[in-house]
């Protein structure tokens, strides 16, 4: 592998000094499951990698008044098994549990997954329906962006040079029930062809629904048309209409794993499956 220098800063001041080193290609490193193969194959050429796992708060899962805070360097298996995440955001735990396989989930992190910004990221549809706030820290301070605005395209995010994702805030949604389900060629350890997260939040008139698709557009997408239909009632005909709306909202590509046509057709089936699973969980 090409030579690079590895640093593990213990505080943000040191981290930002490294991240803003002039004339160097500097990359933050969290779980390293993407960076190591990319660097070995020459797709990225870092001079410096900055391990962000030891920075304060990066490994924490914490319930706050505003909602659940999940640090950027929390690993997929930690999210999948966290009682706090399972209680407040089951749909995210389900998404995290389907990333890669056991060995990858023991290293890969939520923040790393987000910054890689693969259209097929399995935690993203869950973050979308939870309307997560992405907490970003730079040398000039902190800012947050709604997760929908964080993903800009395949491998492109709203991060500016020298900024780090430090975590996500999952707003409190009392009584909400969600589900993430995906289709891949192999049941586990394969990239997602279609991922769907559905969430129902109790309201005065019943439930407000949210629906998000992954792996079938350049970024994960919400499907407002389907959400409106379901929020007026989720009888069988409404589920059919919502699935058709999801079909209309996606724009998948052909690749080695599947044709776009197949993905589009499967959006209908997987959307119905995700909605059905949420309905099973409703009281």
């Amino acid at each position: 592998m090409r030579k690079f220098d590895y640093y593990q800063p213990k505080d943000f001041a040191e981290a930002f000094e490294l991240l803003l080193l002039p004339d160097k290609v500097v990359m933050p490193l969290a779980g390293a499951t993407d960076i190591i193969p990319l660097a070995r194959d020459g797709h990225i050429q870092p001079d410096v990698v900055v391990d962000i796992k030891s920075l304060p708060g990066m490994r924490e899962i914490k319930a706050t008044e505003k909602g659940l805070l999940v640090g950027a360097a929390v690993r997929m298996n930690e999210i999948a098994s966290s009682p706090l995440v399972r209680e407040h955001a089951t749909v995210l735990a389900e998404g995290a549990a389907t990333v890669g396989h056991v060995q990858v989930r023991n290293r890969a992190t939520l923040g790393g997954n987000m910054c890689t910004a693969s259209p097929a990221g399995d935690t993203f549809p869950a973050l979308l329906v939870l309307e997560a706030e992405v907490l970003i820290r730079g040398v000039e301070g902190e800012r947050s962006v709604p997760v929908l605005e964080f993903f800009k395209g395949p491998r492109r995010t709203a991060l500016h040079k020298g900024e780090l994702v430090v975590g996500v805030l999952l707003p409190k949604l009392d009584g909400a029930q969600g589900h993430y389900t995906k289709l891949s060629r192999r049941k586990v350890a394969d990239l997602t062809l279609v991922g769907v997260a559905a969430l129902a939040i109790p309201s005065e008139a019943g439930y407000v629904w949210r629906l998000a698709l992954g792996a079938v557009a350049p970024t994960p997408v919400r499907v407002p048309a389907a959400e409106q239909i379901l929020s007026q009632g989720y009888a069988a005909a409404a589920i059919e209409q919502a699935a058709v709306a999801a079909h209309a909202a996606c724009s998948p590509i052909d690749d080695i794993r599947s044709s776009a046509e197949y993905r589009r057709e499967m959006v209908v089936n997987i959307t119905k499956r995700a909605i059905g699973k949420v309905i099973e969980k409703l009281p």
Partner: protein
Amino acid sequence: MLHEITFTVNNDPYTIAVQSQQTLLKVLREQLGLTGTKIGCENGECGACTVLFDGEPVNSCLVLAAEADGHEIETVEGMSIGGDLHPLQKAFIEHNAVQCGFCTPGMLMSAKSLLIHNPQPNELEIREALAGNLCRCTGYVRIIEAIQDVAQNG
């Protein structure tokens, strides 16, 4: 750049110098001579390099050696105790779960971790735990039988 790292491998303490870009896999094999851990895809797909990192299975090809500083690593060489094979190793032999043997060290590490977390796994749980370990010889059936045997009979 060079890092001095201190970690344990199979409970033996080591303090060694590693380069920033070296993976844990290469350091285990080439600096410590522990060649039981195999180099397969080096992409996190095949699981031949699986080791336990603080007790949890990871692809050692996807971990920088520098990240292992202060941590506990277990490799297949650490499974037998005083020359006695681990029950999983014995069961793999008895059930003919080894053909070419290349995937076996990784399979054993994943299986060991599984049985620690879930001493009585069903077949689906075993298959899920081994999803990150590819075997191109056995068709997995005998590997699963070997693990079930240990779960049921110790």
